[in-house]
C-alpha cells in the first residue's frame, strides 16, 4: 500500500530578515545604557565636588585655605587625621572600616543625622529653628565646654534636627532636649555628630559663624589631613548584579544557556552542503571599446577622438552622397547642402581638421557629426 504524505512548508525568510529584531533589540539596549548610564556630577546636595548652591565645594576650599590637606575619597586611609561624612551612603563593610579607623585615633565628623554613626534623634518635634533662650531665631550658640568651639559664636542651621545626648557624650548648641552637635569618644578617637549638614553647603557656609564652626571642627591646627567621604553613587556598592539575583533565576538562566547550546548544535549541522559550480565569464563584449574610450579621455587625446569622429562622418557622407571618401570637404559640404539642405558651413566645420581645445568642443563636434549624419541619411 502506498500512502502519500504531506510536505512541510519551506521556510522562506532570509537569515537577515530573521535577525533584524535581535539587532534592533541590541541597539535599543545600547542606546538605553548610554542615556541612563552617565552619573550626574553637579546635582547631588553636599557633594564635595559640586559648586551648585547645595554642593560642598566651598567647604573643601575653605579647609585648604586654612592649611589642611583635603582629599575627596570613598574611603579613609590610615594616615588621615579627620574624616568628614556629609552624607552617609556607606556600605556595611565601609562603615565597619570607618569605625575601626576612628578607634585608632581618628576624628570623624558626621553631618548626616540619619547615619548609623550618629546618635539617635532627640524626642519631640523634629524641626529645629533656633536658640529660643537667646532670642536669635534660626541662630544657635555653643553653650558647651568643648575648647574647640571656643571661637564659634552663633551658627545658622536651617533644616537641622536635634540629636540626643547620650551618656558619656558632650552636647553643644543645645535645643529642647537635645543638641545640634554631639561629640562622643570612640576608642582612641572621637565622633562628632551634627544634626544636619546645612551649615556646610556652599550657600550657607558664609552665614553667621558657620565657616568658623567648620574650621574649628575639621582643621583646628592647620596641618590636618582631612578626607571628605564622597557620597557614593547609587549602584556603586560592592554587591554585584549576581549577588542580587536569586539562585532560582540564576539556575533558570543556566538552563537557558544549555538550551542555547543545544540550539547552536542543531543549527551547526546544516542539511546539505552549499553546492559550488563554476562561474561563467561576466565580461561585456563591448568592454574593450569602453576601455579604449576611457583611455582616450584619461590621456586627453581630444584630437585623436575628433579625427575618428570626422572619419566616420566622412565615410557616412561619402556612402550616402555617392562621393569618394577622400573628396575635399568643400565638395562634400556642397553635395550635402544640395541633397539634404544642410548648411554647407556646418559640414565644412565638422570635417575641417582643426584642433579641439577642450572637452566641450569635442562634445559639440560629436553632436554635430551625429546630427549631420542623421539629417543626410533621412533626406535620402
Amino acid at each position: 500500500m502506498t500512502v502519500v504524505g504531506t510536505a512541510a512548508p519551506a521556510g522562506a525568510k532570509s537569515a537577515l530578515v530573521r535577525s533584524l529584531p535581535l539587532v534592533g533589540l541590541g541597539l535599543a539596549v545600547v542606546v538605553l545604557a548610554l542615556l541612563t548610564g552617565g552619573r550626574r556630577t553637579d546635582g547631588e546636595p553636599l557633594d564635595p565636588r559640586s559648586t551648585a548652591p547645595l554642593g560642598a565645594r566651598a567647604l573643601v576650599l575653605l579647609l585648604e585655605r586654612f592649611g589642611a590637606r583635603v582629599e575627596v575619597a570613598g574611603d579613609v586611609a590610615p594616615r588621615d587625621t579627620t574624616a568628614v561624612l556629609l552624607v552617609d551612603r556607606l556600605g556595611e563593610a565601609a562603615r565597619t572600616r570607618l569605625r575601626q579607623w576612628v578607634e585608632t585615633g581618628g576624628t570623624l565628623i558626621v553631618a548626616d543625622p540619619m547615619s548609623d554613626l550618629a546618635p539617635a534623634l532627640a524626642p519631640g518635634d523634629a524641626g529645629l529653628f533656633g536658640d529660643e533662650e537667646a532670642g536669635d531665631g534660626d541662630l544657635l550658640r555653643p553653650r558647651c565646654p568643648l575648647p574647640a568651639l571656643a571661637e564659634v559664636g552663633r551658627i545658622e542651621v536651617p533644616g537641622a534636627v536635634p540629636l540626643r545626648v547620650g551618656p558619656g557624650a558632650t552636647g553643644c548648641f543645645p535645643v529642647d532636649d537635645g543638641a545640634y552637635l554631639v561629640a562622643r569618644p570612640m576608642g582612641g578617637g572621637v565622633v562628632v555628630a551634627l544634626g544636619g549638614g546645612g551649615p556646610f553647603v556652599n550657600r550657607q557656609l558664609d552665614d553667621a559663624d558657620n565657616a568658623v564652626l567648620a574650621v574649628s571642627l575639621m582643621a583646628p591646627r592647620g596641618d590636618e589631613r582631612v578626607v571628605v567621604l564622597e557620597p557614593s553613587a547609587p549602584g556603586s556598592g560592592r554587591e554585584g548584579l549576581s549577588d542580587l539575583v536569586s539562585r532560582r533565576v540564576k539556575d533558570a538562566l543556566w538552563q537557558l544557556l544549555v538550551a542555547f547550546g543545544l540550539f547552536a548544535l542543531w543549527r551547526a549541522r546544516r542539511l546539505g552542503r552549499p553546492v559550488l559550480e563554476p562561474q561563467p565569464v561576466q565580461l561585456a563584449g563591448s568592454e574593450l571599446v569602453g576601455a579604449v574610450g576611457n583611455l582616450l579621455q584619461q590621456a586627453r587625446r581630444r584630437d585623436q577622438a575628433a579625427t575618428m569622429l570626422r572619419a566616420q562622418l566622412r565615410r557616412s557622407l561619402s556612402e550616402l552622397l555617392g562621393l569618394p571618401v577622400d573628396a575635399p570637404p568643400a565638395v562634400m559640404a556642397e553635395a550635402a547642402a544640395q541633397r539634404a539642405g544642410v548648411p554647407p558651413g556646418q559640414v565644412a566645420d565638422a570635417l575641417a581638421p582643426t584642433p579641439v581645445p577642450d572637452d566641450a568642443s569635442l562634445v559639440r563636434l560629436a553632436q554635430l557629426v551625429e546630427s549631420l549624419r542623421k539629417e543626410v541619411s533621412h533626406a535620402r
Binding site: 502506498t2 510536505a7 532560582r248 543545544l262 574610450g293
Partner: protein, 433 residues
C-alpha cells in the same frame, strides 16, 4: 544530533528549574538529567537514514529557457510515521524552487514532493549525493547521513531561431517541389525526373530523345544538388566569451550552428561540426540523418568558452584531414582584428582554394548604439569615438576577408542564424557548392 525541538524543550524547562523546590542547584541537574535520558532514548529509537528509501526523479535533458520538474520520493519501511528532511545537490544556476524539504512519511508508505527548475545556463549538471535527516519518534533527536544518488542532467542550448529555421525549410521545399516558380538562376543542376511538358516549362528542358520515344513532349526536371557538405567550425576561444545581449557570443554562435544543421539536414545535405579553441573540442562527422541536430546539440551543450587564443590553422588542418570533399565551411567566430590577423587570415588561402568559406559573427548592439549616439558628456564623446573606430576596424577586416574570397555575415544578435541560413540557401540556389 539535537533538533530544534530539543532546544525548545530545554528552554521551556528553565521554568521548571526556576520553580524547583529547595535551595540548591539540584533542580538544574534533575531537569537536565530527565531531558537527557528522554533524548538518548529518542536517539536510540531513531531510524537510520540508510534504512529509508530515497528516490529522485529528474529529466535527463532540459532545454535552456524551459522549465522542468524534479520529484523526490521517500519510502518508509517501518510502521511508524517518519519526519524526513532532504537536501539535494542542485546547483544554484538550475534555479530550483527549493532544494531542501521536509516530508511526513506515513508508516509503510511513501511520500513525495517536487519543485520546478528553470536552468539559467546550459551544460552538464552532476548530482551526486543527497543528505537525509530522520527525526526520532519524539522529535528531540535526529540522525543525518549522506546518501550517494548519482545522476546527470544535461541542459541543452536554446534553439532560439527554430521558427526561422522552419520557415526557411518550408520555403526551400516549396521551391524544390515546384509549387512556386523558381527564382534566380535556380532550379538546381542535378537531374531529378522526367515528366510531360507543361505550358510554362522552358523549351531548353525538353528531352528530345524521350519525346521521340514517348510520342509526346517530355521535359527533364532538375533539383538542387543534395548530399553536399556543410561543415560548421565553432570557435570556442577567448573572443567568444564576451557577453553580447546578456549572453556570451558563443551562445549566439551555437544558435546559428543549430539552425544551419537543421536547415541543411532537412534539405538533404550533410552537416557536421568541429568545435575548437587551442585544440579541437568536439567533432560531429557530417551526416544527413534526422538525428544530426540532436548529435550536434549533444556535442555542444557542455562547451564553455576557453580563455585561450584559438588555433584556426590547427582546426583547419584537422578538419581538412578528416573531410576532404568540397564543402561549405562556416566559421563562427568574432571579427576581432588583432585575434584574426595573426591566425585566421594567413590560414584562409589554404581553404578558400578548395572550399566555400563563410564567416559568421555577431555584432555588439552596445557598440553600434554608442557609435550612433549623440553624446552630451565628454565621456560619451570619447566612447563614441572609440566605438566608431572599432566599427571602422571591423569594416576593414570584413572587406579584407571578402577580398580573400570568403563570405562574411556580420549580424546583430538574433539575426546571425537567419543570415547564415540565407547565405547557405543562396549558395545552394546558385549552385556554387
Amino acid at each position: 544530533m539535537p533538533t530544534g525541538r530539543l532546544a525548545a524543550v530545554a528552554a521551556g524547562s528553565s521554568v521548571a528549574v526556576g520553580l524547583f523546590p529547595g535551595d540548591s542547584t539540584l533542580g538544574l541537574l534533575v531537569v537536565n538529567g530527565l531531558v537527557l535520558v528522554v533524548a538518548l532514548v529518542d536517539w536510540a529509537l531513531t531510524v537510520r537514514p540508510a534504512a529509508v528509501a530515497v528516490e529522485r526523479e529528474l529529466p535527463a535533458v532540459v532545454t535552456l529557457g524551459q522549465s522542468a520538474r524534479i520529484m523526490w520520493w521517500v519510502g518508509n519501511p517501518g510502521g511508524r510515521r517518519l519526519r524526513v528532511s532532504l537536501a539535494d545537490e542542485l546547483a544554484p544556476s538550475l534555479r530550483a524552487g527549493r532544494r531542501r524539504l521536509t516530508l511526513i512519511v506515513p508508516g509503510r508508505g511513501r511520500a513525495g514532493a517536487g519543485t520546478d527548475i528553470r536552468p539559467a545556463r546550459r551544460g552538464r549538471f552532476e548530482l551526486r549525493e543527497m543528505v537525509v535527516r530522520v527525526e526520532g519518534p519524539v522529535g528531540l533527536m535526529a540522525r543525518q547521513e549522506r546518501r550517494m544518488l548519482p545522476a546527470t542532467m544535461r541542459v541543452y542550448p536554446q534553439f532560439a531561431s527554430r521558427d526561422e529555421a522552419e520557415l526557411r525549410i518550408n520555403r526551400a521545399r516549396i521551391l524544390q517541389i515546384g509549387l512556386r516558380s523558381a527564382q534566380g538562376r535556380g532550379g538546381g543542376t542535378e537531374f531529378d525526373s522526367m515528366r510531360e511538358y507543361g505550358p510554362d516549362d522552358e523549351f531548353r528542358r525538353i528531352d528530345w530523345a524521350a519525346t521521340a520515344r514517348a510520342g509526346k513532349p517530355i521535359v527533364r526536371t532538375y533539383r538542387a544538388e543534395r548530399n553536399q557538405t556543410v561543415l560548421l567550425l565553432l570557435d570556442n576561444g577567448r573572443v567568444m566569451a564576451g557577453r553580447v545581449a546578456d549572453v556570451p557570443r558563443l551562445e549566439h554562435a551555437m544558435d546559428a550552428v543549430m539552425m544551419l544543421a537543421a536547415v541543411a539536414t532537412r534539405l538533404g545535405d550533410r552537416a557536421g561540426l568541429v568545435a575548437f579553441d587551442r585544440e579541437v573540442r568536439a567533432v560531429v562527422p557530417p551526416s544527413h540523418s534526422a538525428a544530426q541536430l540532436t548529435r550536434v546539440t549533444e556535442a555542444m551543450y557542455s562547451l564553455q568558452p576557453e580563455l585561450v587564443e584559438s588555433d584556426y590553422e590547427g582546426a583547419f588542418v584537422e578538419t581538412l584531414a578528416r573531410f576532404r570533399r568540397r564543402a561549405m565551411l562556416v566559421i563562427l567566430t568574432e571579427l576581432a582584428e588583432q585575434a584574426l590577423a595573426d591566425t585566421l587570415v594567413p590560414a584562409l588561402p589554404l581553404i578558400v582554394r578548395d572550399h566555400l568559406v563563410v564567416l559568421g559573427s555577431v555584432q555588439d548592439p552596445a557598440v553600434v548604439a554608442s557609435a550612433n549616439s549623440s553624446p552630451d558628456s565628454p565621456a560619451g564623446s570619447y566612447a563614441k569615438a572609440a566605438a566608431v573606430a572599432a566599427l571602422e576596424e571591423r569594416r576593414r577586416l570584413v572587406g579584407r576577408l571578402r577580398g580573400m574570397g570568403a563570405t562574411v555575415v556580420d549580424a546583430p544578435p538574433g539575426r546571425l542564424a537567419p543570415g547564415l541560413a540565407d547565405a547557405y540557401l543562396k549558395v545552394k540556389a546558385t549552385g556554387r557548392l
